[in-house]
Each structure stands twice: as structure tokens, then as C-alpha cells.
């Protein structure tokens, strides 16, 4: 038997093409649809018009141009970036902890970011001014701080330390931070609605500022996650066996969790807490394309982007002109899916 006769799992190029085609369609639909519908031809011409040395008349009036370039497009871009990051981070956490139900918020990132955001919203007026808005800054710091606290506690456990130790430390940290956050929220009832809106997630954005703010983190994070895919496959046989295969499991876990956490904290800072994307997208990819992380991670990034763009489209069109929090949309579809995964999964960490 020769090497050419075996078919190890790998990312097939046509899967990637299919995934990008899905993303493109999702992006186009989301750009065209909304409170003001734009027609495809005009949008295309408007894009062409922005190319250097090209000057065509798109037929869009000034208001439509503004909707397209300053509302619709940045929002779709932000949705794609957030979705890609959450899906990649979810896959990374699931591989690192060998836990199919791990999500990017597992180790206290969500609770920390929630606390940071609540502080920013409730006490924003009295905080010293910073070069960027206090809300994303504090949410980011809170998210990273939550995971750092989890790691510090997890690593202080001397004997019998396993990946589960870290997850349990995350439970403790999240419970504590959520308690503080809820207390602050109750003390400042006048901002309750705003805090609540942030926690349920929203992608409402004007202009490209937030896109450029998070993009560097997301690119760096996803590159590290993609490069670690093969290591996550090795980790799937357990820490002990990974050692005998020449891999240091705690180092792999640290790098993958760090990358996923930085990226997650960055997107949470601008989008709030959007649940379930990090679980349902990698799982759907796993079911359709196989369980190797070299397949799951790249495809999750692309499908995660498409999924969140479509979820946001629903969030802003179902009850138009009102918006539903996007977290409600992802959970509405995510929770039933999650139940199915739970039914068919073979037990935690096995």
C-alpha cells in the first residue's frame, strides 16, 4: 500500500469554495435587504464607482449611498468578523478542553466583559476619558481579566490538575463576576435597559471605526488558531498520549486559549454577548465535514461569518423598524440545535 492510496482528513478546496460562496451570498443579501431596500445593480455600480480611476453613476441618491457605505456595509463586515471570531474561538476551546460543549465564554470571558461593560455604561460619565470609547475598552479588559483569573486559580491547583480543573475555576470566576455585575446593574437601574441590550448582543454600528478596531485582533487570533489546528487533533487523544507523541498539551492549550480569548474579548467589546455561535457553527461543520480541526477551524471561520451576517439580517428585519437583539436570534436557532448536539454527543470530555 502506497501513501497515495490513503485519504487522511484534510480541507478540500471545493469545501472552502462552497463556504466562501455561502458567505458571499449571505453578505450580498444582507447588504441589499433592510428597512430601505437597495437594488443589486445600483449597489454593484456604487462599488465599481469607488474603485480608483473609475467614475460611474450608481443611481443611488446621497441618503442611499450613506445607508450603503456607512450603515449596511460596515454592519455586514462587523457581523462577519464577529461571527468568524466566535466560531473560531469556540472550535479552539472545544479542542483545547476536549469538550464538545465548550464555548468562547467558558472561562469567564463573558462574565468579565459583562462586568466591564456594565461599569462603562453605569459610570461612564464619571470615568476619565480614554482615546477609545470606555465601553469596548472596559469590556475587553474585563473579558481578558476574567480568563486570566480563571487561569490563575486553575494553575494554583497543585495535585490532580486536569483540563476540567480549569473549567471549574471558570465556573467560580464567572459566578463571582456575574454577582458583582448584577449588583452594579441593580444599583444603577436607570441604565438597566442599556446594559441588558449590550448583554444580549447588538451589531448596530455607524461607520467603520469598530471594524478597524477589532480586525487586527481577529486576524492575529484566527491565524494562531488555524496554525494550531494540527496540535488540537493531537490533543484529542488526551494529554498523556499527546506527551508520548511529542506534544506539550498545557502549552498548546495555553496558546490556543490565549488566542481565542484575545479575539473573543475584542469582538465582545464591540458586539456584546452573542451566544451559541461558538457552539453551533463548529458542530454543524463537524457533523457535515468531519471532526479534524484542520477542517473544522477554517470552515467554521467562514460559515461563522455567514451565519452571523444572516442572524443579524433577521434581527434587524423581522420586527422592522425595531431591532431584535442578535443574541435572541442566535439563541432561538442555537438552543434547539444545542439540544440535538447534547442528545447525540458521547459524554463530556470523552
Amino acid at each position: 500500500m502506497k501513501g497515495e492510496e490513503i485519504r487522511p482528513s484534510r480541507l478540500r478546496w471545493w469545501w472552502l469554495v462552497g463556504a466562501f460562496a455561502t458567505l458571499t451570498v449571505a453578505g450580498l443579501v444582507a447588504i441589499l435587504m433592510g428597512a430601505v431596500d437597495l437594488d443589486a445593480r445600483s449597489v454593484l455600480l456604487s462599488v465599481v464607482d469607488r474603485l480608483p480611476f473609475v467614475d460611474v453613476d450608481s443611481g443611488l441618491n446621497g441618503r442611499q449611498e450613506a445607508i450603503l457605505w456607512e450603515l449596511r456595509m460596515p454592519r455586514v463586515a462587523l457581523g462577519g468578523i464577529v461571527g468568524a471570531m466566535l466560531a473560531a474561538a469556540g472550535g479552539s476551546y472545544q479542542g483545547s478542553f476536549r469538550n464538545p460543549l465548550a464555548d468562547p465564554y467558558l472561562l469567564g470571558a463573558a462574565a468579565g466583559a459583562g462586568l466591564g461593560a456594565t461599569i462603562a455604561i453605569a459610570y461612564g460619565a464619571s470615568l476619565p476619558s480614554t482615546p477609545i470609547d470606555a465601553l469596548p475598552l472596559l469590556a475587553f479588559i474585563g473579558g481578558v481579566g476574567g480568563v486570566a483569573a480563571t487561569y490563575a486559580i486553575g494553575y494554583s491547583v497543585k495535585a490532580g490538575r486536569t483540563p476540567v480543573t480549569l473549567i471549574l475555576a471558570g465556573v467560580a470566576v464567572a459566578a463571582f463576576l456575574t454577582a458583582v455585575q448584577t449588583y452594579l446593574q441593580q444599583r444603577n437601574a436607570e441604565t438597566l435597559r442599556e446594559v441588558y441590550g449590550w448583554i444580549l448582543g447588538r451589531l448596530s454600528t455607524v461607520g467603520w471605526g469598530e471594524v478597524w478596531l477589532v480586525l487586527p485582533y481577529v486576524v492575529a487570533s484566527t491565524v494562531v488558531i488555524l496554525l494550531g489546528a494540527r496540535r488540537l487533533d493531537v490533543l484529542s487523544v488526551g494529554d498523556d498520549e499527546a506527551v508520548t507523541l511529542g506534544v506539550d498539551p498545557s502549552r498548546v492549550r495555553l496558546v490556543m486559549v490565549l488566542a481565542a480569548t484575545l479575539g473573543t474579548a475584542a469582538v465582545v467589546a464591540v458586539s456584546g454577548l452573542i451566544g451559541f455561535v461558538g457552539i453551533i457553527v463548529p458542530h454543524a461543520v463537524r457533523i457535515v465535514f468531519g471532526s479534524s480541526y484542520r477542517v473544522v477551524l477554517p470552515l467554521s471561520i467562514v460559515f461563522g461569518a455567514a451565519f452571523l451576517i444572516l442572524a443579524d439580517l433577521l434581527a434587524r428585519t423581522i420586527a422592522s423598524p425595531a431591532e431584535i437583539p442578535i443574541g435572541v436570534v442566535t439563541a432561538f436557532f442555537g438552543a434547539p440545535f444545542f439540544a440535538i448536539v447534547l442528545r447525540s454527543s458521547r459524554g463530556l470530555g470523552s
Partner: protein, 267 residues
């Protein structure tokens, strides 16, 4: 004799209790050493110390290099382990599982080379797994699975193969099949084999030499007839056995039931 693996003063403590207590061993290249001993004697811990999966005092020297000076990756190129209870990732196919054995050779980013795939293909063939390459590892039968796990270890192409009770879950026919396979591979590839073993009769048949561990110490060392001694076995396993000739030069260890069932025969 070329020494493939040398252990000197290996001690392992866990939560204050001593699992291994200054174990010294030398294993020649191409030799098969069997490690026997009662449950909890430290057999698995000894194998884990050799792979670097557990912290220990003393030194492990592999082909002339102290293991503590080797990078993890280089150590994995020298020593492969077949675990007693392998973790089977749901949904992983046999070919991907065996390819994991190439991890210490594969470039982390660019992935497996043609050579890596050739090694995997040859290993699958050698272990008659060619028909199973696309099967989910969690659906294999006991014998198929054991061959897949051994295939993964062989794909590492390391000269030292550690087997942790490789036949515990197998029926008697599959036990023989797997151990004959290991013996054939050992001779074909001049592998050095160290196996922890449960079944004393089988331990008498396959390894060149046996070591008996009890409470973390080496209590006997030598060929089967020396180590498989009724007094030693009574002392360390608390078992009454009789050693019989199998009629063709080998020995058989037969457990005896004491004359008075349920009476205290341990002392």
C-alpha cells in the same frame, strides 16, 4: 550488547506516596523485557516515566542520551507507547489516528510529507488494517483497535516500543495474535520492547527477560523460570500458584484454589 534503554535510580512520588523506589534497569537493543507485578506495583508509572509523562528522580538514558536533555519531540521519535486504555476521539478515522503517530516527524504547519503518508500506508498494511482505514476508531472491535493503537505507535518509527498491558481486553486468540505480531515486528525492525503484563503464562512465553515489580521496587529479575517462582508470587501477589512444564520447554502458571475455600490462605 548495545544498551537501548537504561534506567537508573528511578523514583516517582505522587501526593507524598512513593510509586517507584530507585528502579535500575538496562534493556538491550532488540530485547523484549516483560514487567510483571501485582496491581499498583508501579508498572504503568515506570512506562510513563520513560515517556516523560510523569516527573521522576533518577535518570532515563535512551540510546546514549539522557531523556531529560531531549526535546519532547525527539523523545517521541525514540520511544513510542501503546497505552492500556487509549483515548479514542469520536469521529476520528483509523487513517487519521495512525497518522497521529507521525506527529513527532510532521511539520506542524505544512503537514505530512509523502514520506509520512507512505509510512502510514505501509504500517496499515503490515497490521492488516488496510480495509479499515476509513472506519471510525470508536467502532473497531477489541483486536482491530489494538492493532490500530500499535500501528500508531509503529508509525512513530521509534526504536523503543512500550506496551502497557497490551492484551488485557482481548480474547485468548487475539492475545496470541497481537503478541506474535509484536514479536515479529520486533525481529523485523530490531525494536526494543518493554511491556507491562498481567497474564503470567503469557509473560513466560513472549519476553526474553522478566522483571517483577512490587511496591515500586524490583523484587526479581531474570528469565521466566527464575522470576515466576511460586514463593515470589505468593509473597507479592498473595496468590497460590503452581508452575508447570508446558511439555515443550516453556512453563505455565496455574492458579490453585486453596483446599478450604474462603479460608484465609494469604498468610
Amino acid at each position: 550488547m548495545t544498551v537501548a534503554l537504561s534506567l537508573s535510580g528511578i523514583s516517582v512520588r505522587f501526593n507524598g506516596s512513593r510509586i517507584l523506589d530507585s528502579v535500575d534497569l538496562e534493556i538491550a537493543q532488540g530485547e523484549w523485557l516483560g514487567i510483571i507485578g501485582p496491581n499498583g506495583a508501579g508498572k504503568t508509572t515506570l512506562l510513563r516515566a520513560i515517556t516523560g509523562a510523569v516527573e521522576f528522580e533518577g535518570s532515563v538514558t535512551i540510546e546514549g542520551n539522557r531523556s531529560s536533555t531531549l526535546k519532547r519531540r525527539d523523545l517521541a521519535r525514540s520511544v513510542a507507547l501503546v497505552p492500556q486504555h487509549p483515548v479514542l476521539p469520536p469521529g476520528m478515522r483509523v487513517v487519521d489516528y495512525v497518522l497521529l503517530g507521525r506527529t513527532p516527524h510532521v511539520h506542524a504547519v505544512t503537514g505530512p510529507s509523502h514520506h509520512d503518508l507512505d509510512v502510514v500506508a505501509r504500517t496499515l498494511e503490515a497490521l492488516t488494517l488496510s480495509a479499515f482505514t476509513d472506519r471510525d476508531v470508536t467502532t473497531l472491535s477489541g483486536g482491530e483497535l489494538q492493532r490500530a493503537v500499535i500501528a500508531r505507535a509503529l508509525a512513530q518509527e521509534s526504536q523503543i516500543l512500550l506496551l502497557d498491558e497490551p492484551t488485557t481486553a482481548l480474547d485468548i486468540g487475539k492475545q496470541q495474535e497481537v503478541l506474535e505480531l509484536v514479536d515479529r515486528l520486533r525481529k523485523d525492525r530490531t525494536l526494543t520492547v518493554v511491556s507491562a503484563m498481567h497474564d503470567l503464562t503469557i509473560a513466560a512465553q513472549f519476553p526474553d527477560r522478566l522483571v517483577m515489580l512490587a511496591e515500586g521496587r524490583v523484587v526479581a529479575e531474570g528469565d521466566g523460570r527464575t522470576v515466576l517462582d511460586p514463593v515470589l508470587i505468593r509473597d507479592h501477589y498473595s496468590a497460590d500458584v503452581r508452575i508447570l512444564d508446558d511439555g515443550s520447554g516453556g512453563i505455565v502458571v496455574v492458579p490453585l484454589r486453596s483446599q478450604e475455600p474462603m479460608s484465609d490462605s494469604k498468610n
